[in-house]
Amino acid sequence: MIRRLAYGIKHILELDEPRHHLAIYPDDTFVVSFPGSGNTWTLFLIANLLQPEPRVTLPDLKRLIPAIDGQPRKFFRAMPRPRVIRHHESFHPQYKNVIYIVRDPRDVLISAYHSLPERTDLDGGDRLMSFVAEFVAGARSPVGSWGENVASWLATRGNAPRFLLLRFEDMWSETVGELDKVARFLGIQATSGHLAEAVNRSPADHVRRLEQKTARKIDLDSSRSSAEGGWRTKLPKAAVSEIESAWGPLMSRLGYELCDTAAAKYHTVAVTELDRDL
C-alpha cells in the first residue's frame, strides 16, 4: 500500500521511470540488445553521431540515448524528437524503428559470468556449468534468454525495412562502415569525416575510463578480445557445446561459426512436424 502510494505520487509528478508506461511516438528509434552485448561502446558511437560537438560524456549518453528505466517520465516527454531510446526488451510490437545489436552468445556468457557479484575464473568447474545452464534457460533474465531475445526480434522483424541488425563483431572490425548504416537508418547526414570523428571519439579505452570514473563496471576486456574470439581461449569446451546445442541454428544464421558441427545439423532438418495440412 505504501509502495503503491509512493508510486502514485511519483507518477503525478512524472518522476517515475516510464518502463512500460512510456508514451511511444512513431518516429522513436529503439536501440535494443541483450545485456552484455558490447552495448555501451556501440551507444557511445551512436551518441557521438547524434552530437558531433563536444565529445560525448557518460551524462551526455544518458541524455542522448536514455535507457527506458534510466530517466523519469518527465524527461522522456521533454526529449526533442525524433528520440533514440535504449532497452533490453525482447520483441515489442510498438517499437517501430529498431536497431538491434547482437553478439556471439559465447562471449555474452563470459561477460555475464564476469559481472556476477563475486568474480571467479572460468575454470570449467561446477559453478561455471550451473551458470551456463541458467544462462541457456534465461533463468535470471527478465528479458528472456539470449536465444529468446534474439529470435523474438529476428523472426518478427528480421526482414522489415525499419529494423537494422548490427553484429557487435562487425562493429568492432568494420566500425566506420557499420556506423554509416546506423547514420543512414537514423537519417543523419554524415560524411566519412563525421563518421571517422565519431569513431575517434569513442575509443574503447576512453569508454572504459569513463566507466571507471563512475565506478560502473562493464567488461570491455571481454568485448576487446571477442573480436579475436575471446571465448575460444577462455571458455571451456563443455560450456561452448552447451551453448551451441541450445542455439546452434540461430548462431549459424547470424554467422557465428560453430565448433560442434553436430549442433548445426538441425539447420538442415526440414519443418515436418506441422506439414500436415489441415
Binding site: 502514485g8 525482447s90 528472456g144 529470435a151 523474438s152 529476428l154 532438418v269 519443418v271 495440412d277
Partner: protein, 296 residues
C-alpha cells in the same frame, strides 16, 4: 489530468488492469493466443477439465481461468495457485509454461472484424477492404499493444516452439478432434483423466452450450456487460468461413504477408505457393519433436 488521477487512484487501490505487467509465479500456466483464436472455448474446455465437479459458465470462468486484460492486478493476486491465466500477450519471457492457440488468420480477420464492430472499436460500416491492410499491419485500435497476427504467432513460435514448457494447439485441429487435442492439454497440465471424462468436458464446453449461456449471462460477464448484443461474443466456431466471405484480393494480401508462416502451421494457401519457414526461426529440437495428433 482527470485521467491521470484516475490512473493513480486505481494503482494505489490495486484496481488497475493486470494486462502485461503483473506478478507471475513459477507455477503459473498461461493460455495464450492472438484475439479471436478460440481462446474462450479453450478456457471453458480447460476449466471443465480441471474443475470436473462444477460446470464452467461465464459467471465463474474468471475465477477459474482469469483474463489478464479484463481483471485487476489485485484480483489476479488472489487467485489460488497454481494459476491458469488467460492472456493475449505477445512473447513474454516470464511465462514459463504456455499453451498457445493458433487459428487460420483468414478466419481470425473476419471474426476480429465482427468483434471490433461489437465493441465499437471500428465503425459499424467500416469497409472490410480497408480493414484488411490495417489488420495485416497490426494497426487497429486494440491491436496496437498486441502486434499483428504474424508478429504475435512468430514471437512465441520462434522462442518457444518445441520446448518442453510450450504446447501448441491449432484451433482447426481442436474443432476436428477436440477429445484428442484436449488430451494433449490434460497431459501438459498433468491432469489424469479418461476418454469418457474428456468427452464430457467437450460436451459441456460445446459452442451451443456457450451460446445458450451467453444469452442469459452476458450482462454479468465482465467482458460482455454493457456491450451490444446483436453481434454475439461466441462466434460461429467454424473453420474455413473465409472461403466464401473473404474477397479474393484480401485472401491474396493475407497470404502474401504471412504465407510461409501459414504454410508452416499447415494452413493450405489458396492463392499462391510458399515454402514453409526454415529453422532457426521455428526452432527444432529433435528430442521434443512429437508428431501432431499422435498423443493421448
Amino acid at each position: 489530468m482527470i485521467h491521470e488521477l484516475e490512473y493513480v487512484l486505481n494503482q494505489i487501490l490495486g484496481r488497475d488492469l493486470a494486462e502485461r505487467y503483473f506478478k507471475t509465479f513459477a507455477d503459473d500456466t498461461f493460455l495464450v493466443s492472438f484475439p479471436r483464436s478460440g481462446n474462450t472455448w479453450t478456457r471453458f474446455l480447460i476449466g471443465n477439465l480441471v474443475r470436473p465437479h462444477e460446470s464452467i459458465t461465464f459467471l465463474n470462468i474468471e475465477k477459474v481461468i482469469p483474463d489478464t486484460s479484463a481483471l485487476s492486478n489485485r484480483y489476479l493476486e488472489r487467485i489460488p495457485r497454481p494459476r491458469i491465466i488467460k492472456s493475449h500477450q505477445f512473447f513474454d519471457a516470464r511465462y514459463k509454461k504456455v499453451i498457445y492457440i493458433v487459428r487460420d488468420p483468414r478466419d481470425v480477420v473476419l471474426s476480429y472484424y465482427n468483434f471490433q464492430r461489437k465493441y465499437g472499436e471500428i465503425d459499424d460500416q467500416y469497409p472490410l477492404e480497408q480493414y484488411i491492410p490495417r489488420f495485416l499491419a497490426g494497426d487497429l485500435p486494440g491491436l496496437i499493444g498486441w502486434g499483428s497476427w504474424g508478429e504475435h504467432v512468430l514471437s512465441w513460435l520462434a522462442t518457444r516452439h518445441n520446448s518442453p514448457g510450450f504446447l501448441l494447439l491449432r484451433y482447426e485441429a481442436m474443432l476436428a478432434d477436440p477429445i484428442c487435442e484436449l488430451g494433449k492439454v490434460a497431459k501438459f497440465l498433468g491432469v489424469v483423466t479418461t476418454t469418457e471424462a474428456l468427452a464430457g468436458v467437450v460436451e459441456r464446453s460445446s459452442a451451443d452450450n456457450m451460446r445458450k449461456m451467453e444469452k442469459t449471462q452476458s450482462d454479468k460477464w465482465v467482458v460482455t456487460q454493457g456491450r451490444r448484443k446483436d453481434i454475439p461474443f461466441v462466434g460461429k466456431a467454424t473453420r474455413g468461413g473465409w472461403h466464401s466471405l473473404l474477397p479474393e484480393n484480401a485472401i491474396d494480401e493475407i497470404e502474401a504477408a504471412w504465407g510461409p508462416l501459414m504454410k508452416t502451421l499447415g494452413y493450405k494457401l489458396a492463392r499462391r505457393s510458399s515454402a514453409a519457414l526454415e529453422p532457426p526461426y521455428i526452432r527444432l529440437q529433435n528430442s521434443y519433436r512429437v508428431p501432431i495428433r499422435q498423443q493421448v
